[in-house]
């Protein structure tokens, strides 16, 4: 996030795109509600009538996968009506003219045809967003989980730069992270092309620095594989995998294929707190301690590093992950030992400029938002204050690209997937709480009344969802949340492994799969 969570409550205009915030980020949902209660305007871009869409003054219920057109349309109105921030565009950005030319054809009427959002609504939202004192964009997977995900993100940034709604309090572009430490995993270099703090492996100086620091001869310079690529390469170029606390068998698209590929590895080690669907395929399973049994830090979506504190001893013979990793490294001939996570963080601070000032001692008092380069730095509430990290903000003109897989005669409906309020990720934890799964025991497929009528489906019927890749049975729930032609469910129930159906087509830049759109057919199970 460019900004802090607390700032959302103070925003005058919130443009929430592809985020089911009230279910997936309830505490951020609170801030949105607060902003609305304070008189702010909420516009929600979502094909579904989510709870936040219900609260919104504007619900832009677009056709799945038409976000770029919509954002370009908003930009079009803002430029046409002279509502853009000329000073900001002039002083802080580049490539405006190219952008202007690109969006010129995205008139509200044209965009309305693509998105099915009424042209007047596009105009009103564009004006509202541009004219408000503070406007903030929130987005999550509804924006990123498309084959054009990166371009979707560009289009949100273009809008923010156009209006100068970035680099100041309660204005900005704010992706909301779905998992507790996605931010931290990225920050810490658990990515194929960067060292900690996004220092590219392609840069020789970086490689030298780390080689020296870690006391090895040299660092690999070849870009690594992303998750999807690793799995595709499994059994081919990749022979052994070490999976830590992830469950791709349920969480990754085209799961049948994932399972097949993981099985073809020479060796798979999985380290987790439960014997997940993925762990069941492993050759070795290492029992990890849960968050309650170890010390450490998580970095949240607003870049805030906070302490995790050990409350109880590890269950059974399990060990904290950091201890296990040290054992593996040592056994592989690289002596690795730390007396505590605190000493690991001390090492992190030395090689990670944005974490340079972070220490457990400071975190005892309160969380710190990076960049926090020095021990006396207070942390950073919002980014890009006077200058973008890269210097001038660059407009990236992007064109509407339809989703990879379109409904057709055989697979006439669009399936979209996401999260539920009462569950988390693949349900590994939340299906075992004694409370959450009791209250919300079964997953449903949301289907519009019109489609259900056509297909002879009643509320509560078992249905079969089939795509070119696989099929899943699930209970139908007739719901006003989805429009005709769209069905929705979550990937959080092992009983409904919906990713057997989803499409593994990926965004060419970010490699994110297109979870939000795939073509399916839905039939009643007789």
């Amino acid at each position: 996030m460019t900004n802090s969570i607390g700032e959302i409550a103070e925003a005058d205009f919130i443009l929430a795109a592809g985020t089911n915030t009230f279910d997936a980020h309830p505490i951020i949902g609170i801030k949105i509600k607060k902003a609305v209660a304070n008189g702010g305007t909420l516009a929600v871009i979502d094909p579904r009538l989510t709870d936040s869409a219900k609260l919104a003054q504007y619900h832009l219920q677009l056709k799945p996968g038409t976000d770029i057109a919509l954002f370009n349309g908003l930009a079009n109105v803002i430029i046409e009506e002279g509502l853009y921030n000329k000073q900001f565009v002039e002083e802080r950005t580049e490539d405006f003219e190219a952008f202007k030319q690109t969006v010129a054809k995205y008139t509200p009427d044209y965009v309305s045809e693509i998105t099915s959002v009424p042209a007047d609504v596009i105009r009103e939202v564009a004006r509202g967003y541009a004219k408000a004192k503070n406007s903030t964009i929130l987005y999550t997977m509804g924006i990123t989980q498309h084959t054009c995900g990166t371009h979707n993100v560009f289009s949100t940034c273009n809008l923010a730069m156009l209006t100068g709604h970035i680099g100041k309090e309660s204005s900005g572009v704010n992706p909301l992270r779905g998992q507790n430490n996605v931010q931290g995993a990225c920050d810490m270099g658990a990515l194929p092309v960067v060292f900690p703090a996004y220092q590219p492996v392609a840069v020789e100086a970086n490689r030298e620095k780390f080689a020296k620091f870690w006391n090895v001869e040299k660092m690999p310079d070849k870009p690594g594989l992303t998750v999807g690529e690793m799995i595709e390469a499994a059994g081919k170029s990749v022979k052994a995998m070490y999976i830590l606390g992830e469950n791709p068998v349920l969480s990754d698209p085209d799961a049948n294929q994932v399972m097949h590929e993981l099985k073809s590895l020479d060796f798979l080690v999985v380290q987790d707190i439960f014997l997940t669907e993925t762990a069941q395929l492993a050759d070795v399973v290492l029992p990890a301690a849960s968050f309650a049994e170890k010390d450490g830090t998580f970095s949240n979506t607003e870049r805030r590093v906070q302490l995790v504190r050990k409350a109880i001893e590890p269950i059974g013979d399990s060990k904290p992950d950091w201890e296990i990793i040290c054992l593996v490294a040592t056994a592989m001939g690289y002596p690795m030992s730390y007396d505590s996570p605190e000493s690991i963080m001390n090492e992190v601070a030395k090689v990670t400029p944005s974490y340079g000032g972070i220490s457990f001692d400071r975190l005892e008092l309160c969380g710190l938002q990076w960049p926090c380069p020095t021990p006396d730095h207070p942390g950073t509430k919002f980014l890009h204050a006077n200058k973008f990290v890269r210097g001038l903000g660059k407009f990236n003109p992007v064109e509407h690209i339809p989703p990879n897989e379109q409904p057709d005669a055989e697979y006439p409906m669009v399936l979209s997937t996401g999260r539920r309020r009462y569950h988390y990720h693949t349900g590994t934890m939340t299906q075992r709480t004694g409370a959450l799964e009791v209250f919300y025991p079964e997953e449903y497929l949301e289907i519009s009344c019109e489609d259900a009528g056509k297909l002879g489906i009643n509320d509560g019927d078992k249905v079969k969802v089939t795509s070119r890749r696989g099929q899943v049975e699930v209970t139908a729930q007739i719901s006003e949340r989805v429009t005709p032609g769209l069905v929705f469910t979550s990937f959080q129930y092992p009983d409904v492994p919906i990713n057997r159906v989803t499409n593994a087509a990926r965004d060419p830049i970010s490699k994110i799969p297109e979870y939000k759109v795939c073509a399916v057919k839905v039939e009643k199970v007789s």
Binding site: C449, E450, A452, G453, I478, E480
Partner: protein, 162 residues
């Protein structure tokens, strides 16, 4: 309000009336109480579904709508009689035997305070004062006030209301 499978409202005349009432009050500041008053005129009481519609359309939390309904004596969540009898038990009526009038009314109708006769003809209530103290003891039937009552008159008065 019954909803058919696809969410179109299977509307009764009353539901239509409620919708047009809500259209008038959608942007009206502080419109909840007048809406409830008029909705009660439409339905004779405040059915749950109507309250839920009102909450949704006026964008007022249902809990708050219910809180308002139960705060004010005027609102009723159960069906009521065609004729509402309010026996005054105000100070003046009290000292002049208002409770005897109330007893007589109860006996005549066979229902207690706040109750409705089976044929939905009468609902019997008490009221703290109807401001006709000079004529105490008194009561109101619908909007009509009857004063200087004696218990044996009560039945005869009720008989004039269908």
């Amino acid at each position: 309000m019954a909803t058919s499978q696809c969410g179109e409202l299977a509307q009764t005349d009353k539901d239509v009336a409620l919708q047009s009432l809500l259209d008038q009050y959608r942007d009206y500041k502080g419109g909840l109480i007048p809406v409830l008053q008029e909705a009660q005129n439409i339905y004779g009481y405040l059915p749950k579904d109507a309250l839920q519609t009102i909450a949704k359309e006026l964008r007022i939390p249902f809990s708050k709508v219910y809180g308002v309904c139960t705060f004010y004596a005027q609102f009723h969540l159960k069906p009521r009689g065609r004729n509402i009898i309010r026996v005054c038990l105000g100070t003046a009526c009290h000292v002049r035997g208002g409770s005897k009038i109330f007893e007589a009314a109860k006996e005549h109708l066979g229902v207690g305070h706040g109750e409705t006769t089976e044929d939905l003809r009468f609902t019997l209530e008490t009221v703290a004062c109807i401001g006709a103290c000079g004529l105490s003891p008194c009561m109101m039937v619908n909007d009509e006030t009857h004063g200087r009552l004696v218990p044996k008159q009560v039945g005869g008065i009720f008989d004039t209301y269908e």
